[in-house]
Symmetry: C2
Subunit: 364 residues, 2 copies
């Protein structure tokens, strides 16, 4: 370019006079977006270790995995994407937005942990009609808190203003995680054997599944309020329903450090419950036989099941019923591993056809 | 477990009688979800090369990068997440859902290509009040088409049913990409110098930015219809607004294969336009000086700008204005590279303070 007649030196033009801008009038406030984003760096930076390259605001997040330090010879990347479902509606109603960030990160960590992977980095997607800086800060604070706790770097995110797609004060939240596992330690279900014990680890509330049914029963059918304290619950419904999805990574780290590598497989009990998630790790010719009396089902499920007259078996396909993670370990090591990890034996692997059986059958 | 009184052998219970289930009545149809997911494997499998391990339906997608074959010695992972904004509203209105999948993938590919990275894998997030199998199939077909074209594996996704959060017939679509670059080839802006040429590559329509303003002007202020053919446009508004976000990866591959590695940096012109995106790659002490007369701004922007009386400078912060990618290359190689890639020189790097200047100023 050779013409240099008149030049304009300026910071981003729209950000200066956002109220007058056409884009702001169309519902997208670039200045607000920039304001919102300006505080993010300080919140996410504590999640960045030496493997994160570059700063905030690049087009892509950069991560240089230190294979040597991680002791990984044949790296396999494991990635998963998820949202938090209509648990969001509880966050909206209670105006508390930090815990769902933790829910999302922990959900994703667990999804890759069951393959044997350790998290490397996380990216979030937040979409709303209009960004509220206060809410966004809470969400990202929660995401960062969970990432930091798990040694996972929060290296990127997208905050989208989409007028007309989301209701006022509402938003959606999703995220993706990428982790790493040495190929020889990959858990693919091939080590699962008849006679293996199923160790259930306790969940912390509903985690992030079944909220549409829970909300319908609790708030529409039973006409309860978030501040109510139904008998047996020991807390308010709001507090119960916002309990944070548990991060099971520490349990996996304990198992990986044990001699003889006792972990044969693991299933994260999310949407679909025990009934749909256990078959994902069962080899052909094996069933999972579950004794539903082997653990105490938390009170919230009694309230929902009775209140909604939900088929008892369906409860085990919608909710985690108190078991958030199932570990498959050698039968003879089951009791000691359950004790070590604060879980209990909830069943065993039997000959079968790749399905879940209950004995006794729930509700019978 | 020792009790074996009564056992129940069954496939997922809810999936059988979905109309009666409590979850279906609460707005989440597990059977529909399973039906929708069952066809996905056949659509995404063609994107899977030898580096993808495992099948469909695992908790996490598995990818074993072949560093040797890729010629990468010091791997840096580059990841990005994005959505398609309210371009979705055009997809809803035209009932065409395959192209937005391509938009999303190509947007993400470009976001990591500007760091020098090649895509490895992609994961999608689709959220709706109720899943429509026909629509979902179209979306995933588009995602797969774009992934296949770019040698990117579609290794996972989440389809979320969120009754009460999305309007009828509406959905949101987001996705994340992870790519790889050898550390020595990482483009971090440090090679940008005063005197470098800015080569602009043509965009294909609005790509995925500025749709809230475009829709407001075109449909609210000008009262146009998707089937209208405004003078100069050469096509219908619907076709213009659904033009697929261009994938610039082939241009990057050409540049990476050239002797002397002429590519100093690149900026993907997305939300924020030239004004906000070029500063992301400018080192301290440099400006980007743009001659807005050096390329022909497509007709759609004249229609939007005049129709909405949008400040001419704001147009360059909301829309790509016909330039979807800016490459920073040595000044003396600018013309030949522009010619080779079908682009043109739109400006140069000058001394300055990290901002974009226009000469002449748009609209003056």
């Amino acid at each position: 370019m050779t013409t240099k007649k008149k030049t304009t030196l300026r910071k981003p033009a729209v950000a200066k006079n956002s109220k007058e801008s056409s884009y702001a009038k169309a519902g997208v406030d670039v200045a607000l977006g920039n304001q919102v984003k300006s505080g993010i760096g300080a919140i996410v930076r504590p999640t960045h270790g030496a493997e994160v390259l570059g700063g905030i605001g690049g087009f892509g997040g950069l991560f240089r995995p230190d294979f040597k330090k991680r002791g990984i010879k044949d790296p396999v990347l494991v990635s998963s994407v998820d949202g938090v479902g209509t648990k969001l509606k509880i966050a909206f109603a209670t105006d508390r937005h930090d815990t769902i960030g933790e829910d999302l990160v922990n959900h994703c960590i667990n999804d890759i942990a069951v393959t044997g992977a350790t998290p490397l980095f996380f990216l979030d997607y937040i979409a709303a009609a209009k960004l509220d800086p206060r809410v966004l800060k809470q969400i990202i604070t929660g995401l960062s808190r969970a990432c930091k706790a798990a040694g996972c770097a929060l290296i990127g995110g997208e905050t989208a203003q989409m007028p007309g797609l989301y209701g006022e004060g509402e938003y959606d939240l999703a995220g993706s995680i990428t982790g790493i596992v040495d190929r020889k330690n990959l858990l693919d279900g091939s080590r699962v054997k008849v006679g293996d014990a199923l160790v259930g680890l306790p969940a912390n509330g509903l985690h992030t599944n079944g909220y549409s049914l829970a909300r319908k029963v609790l708030f529409d059918l039973l006409d309860l309020k978030l501040t109510d304290r139904p008998a047996g619950l020991g807390t308010t419904l709001g507090a119960e329903l916002l309990k944070v999805h548990r991060n099971y990574l520490p349990a996996f780290e304990t198992l990986h450090a044990m001699k003889g590598k006792p972990l044969h497989a693991a299933a994260h009990i999310t949407g679909g419950g025990l009934i749909d998630n256990l078959p994902r790790i069962l080899p052909k010719g094996c069933d999972a036989l579950i004794n539903p009396l082997s653990w105490k089902v938390p009170a919230i499920y009694g309230i929902i099941g009775r209140g909604g007259k939900v088929d008892p078996l369906e409860m085990y396909q919608v909710f985690n019923m108190g078991i958030g993670m199932v570990l498959v370990v050698p039968g003879k090591e089951g009791i000691s591993i359950a004790k070590k990890l604060g879980g209990r034996i909830i069943g065993e692997v039997t000959k079968g056809s790749g399905v879940v059986r209950f004995s006794p059958e729930p509700g019978k």
